[in-house]
Symmetry: C2
Subunit: 343 residues, 2 copies
């Protein structure tokens, strides 16, 4: 029921996913009368999609905690509880991000060793040929944990690495800490302490600190930062994209020579727009809980929703949460060993 | 002696400033034999420029504290001390930023009521016609104070507003706090507390929180944040600019139609590059000390150096430090009054 194009595009996306994924069952959670009317109109695999009723839903602009308090039967809460009860294995939503994160936090346990969850976002970087297949990087946290301790930042590094490994088939994702300088002693006390801990890990391919300059370049596969900074960075990438597009339009109106030039350049500009427009890569995983949650962008169309369902399916098939839990246990074991050897 | 094009372009810039500013005296601090050889070769006003010897200087890539410890006669230290002793009124440098900030911190007192200094940077925003004359915004701190308390953020707001008022002839600069949401309760505890304090001020035109999205748009004239976040944001703007330029070059090589299009569009691309390239606006003021320091970009040429000297001159002529001190005293007075009335 959530997202700018709900419910039509969401149901359409689920219907398409039911045809594309031959080993998944999709439960559409929301107003049964609305969803039950929409689904039969769309091509789908009837054995793989079903509707589960929820009496209300959270609007995109509602305040998360107030909305969940007022609507205990909101579709996002019902869906998170279905997953908590084992009726579902993963959750996908294009709705209110804050409400979805809160619903997961209330319904799902955190993985062992994880103190705080992180929302990760994929953003586009300069094309890299050969050296790296995907022109994407992952940045986390982008808003679930506003203030992150050193321990939280290390956990985010583990979770981001596990996600990149699985999604980009990248065996040793390059993990970096975002800071105000490349040296180990640069940053807030939390960043400096996280750096010191991360250089000790052998489980991660930690490449050190990166600076703001390195974000659009794509120097790292996974960039780790607090939710406050990650949120500013992610929204800034969106703002820069808008500015580029508006400037192109401004140029368009200005002169005949520019107009002709723009016409000739339109595919290059599309490419530039694609590369600066993180929104097209939609799905943002919430990491740290016992179950995967994939947040599709609010503006998702059916294709984006299908992709988000595929990502959730891949997270399950590749045992994302199990991989995170295993690495957290390894880190914990290492810490205990080094504490014992110090005694 | 500092900057990528020192000493030639620095001396040239000072020489030009001596002709442009009829009420300023410029003291060139550095190796007297080098500077004394260069200066006579350039057109300058001999009554307005003189050389003051310093036995060494800090290199661009030296570690600030180590360099200053090893070189007590470094030009930046000698220059800061000249200003502290009243032989100079303001300082300009294109050299090592960290060393310059440290030299000021060791030689100059902070203004009354200021606990931490801030380095401010001017960055380009989308062109705004009518509504706003300059397509610039000021962001502070960008690296002098990595962790800022709520009190520090309020001080940065006062200092940034005073600077924008003077430099852009903007009577009521719009001051905003950078956060992860526009609501007053969004952000780190420091940002939330600073917001609460800033809405109480009548001395400032506080427009509330802005998000990353608003940075390139230019919604605010002054954006206030911690040195950690400001540094990431500023370097990211630089990185995005580089990416745009590289993508344009990539498109250039790719196809004949694109190449022709680029040719026709070259002035629009120059415009885009100008707008995304913060470096051309060079001068970054260090605010909070009893004397103004203008940090010209390391890549400054003579024209940029002349501009930085003009900015320093304007800061003195407009009594920048006095204006900051007055507003800080007004805020302090208000706080005391409200504390008295609460008793």
């Amino acid at each position: 029921m959530g997202g700018d194009h709900a419910p039509d595009e969401i149901v359409q996306g689920a219907a398409e996913a039911s045809l594309a994924l031959t080993s998944a069952e999709i439960i559409l959670v929301g107003d049964a009368s609305v969803l039950g009317r929409l689904l039969p109109r769309m091509r789908h695999d009837g054995a793989r999609v079903r509707v589960h009723h929820a009496g209300s839903h959270v609007e995109m602009d509602e305040k998360p905690s107030e909305a969940l308090a007022a609507k205990p039967d909101a579709s996002i809460l019902v869906a998170a509880q279905l997953v908590a009860n084992g009726e579902g294995d993963a959750l996908v939503s294009a709705g209110n991000t804050g409400a979805a994160v809160l619903a997961c936090a209330r319904s799902w346990p955190l993985l062992d060793g994880v103190r705080r969850a992180a929302l990760a976002a994929v953003y586009p970087t300069e094309l890299r040929r050969g050296e790296k297949d995907d022109p994407f990087s992952l940045i986390l946290d982008v808003g679930a944990t506003i203030e992150a301790t050193a321990e939280d930042l290390v956990t985010f590094a583990v979770m981001g690495s596990a996600y990149a490994k699985l999604m980009s088939a990248n065996r040793r994702p390059r993990v970096a800490l975002l800071s105000n300088g490349s040296e180990a002693n640069k940053g807030t006390p939390e960043v400096i302490a996280a750096h010191a801990a991360l250089v000790e890990t052998t489980e991660l391919n930690f490449i050190g600190n990166v600076e703001g300059l390195d974000i659009p370049r794509g120097v790292a596969d996974v960039i780790v930062t607090s939710g406050f900074v990650g949120n500013v960075v992610l929204k800034m990438l969106e703002g820069v994209s808008e500015t580029v597009v508006r400037l192109a339009r401004y140029a368009h109106k200005e002169r005949l020579a520019w107009r002709l030039g723009l016409l000739a350049l339109s595919s290059a500009i599309d490419q530039l727009k694609q590369i600066t427009d993180w929104q097209q890569y939609g799905g943002a995983p919430l990491l740290g809980f016992a179950h995967p949650f994939i947040k599709a962008h609010g503006r998702s169309n059916a294709r984006a929703v299908t992709n988000a369902v595929k990502v959730a399916h891949k997270a399950l098939a590749g045992n994302l949460t199990g991989n995170i839990a295993r690495t957290m246990a390894e880190l914990d074991e290492r810490t205990k060993r080094s504490q014992r050897s110090e005694k």
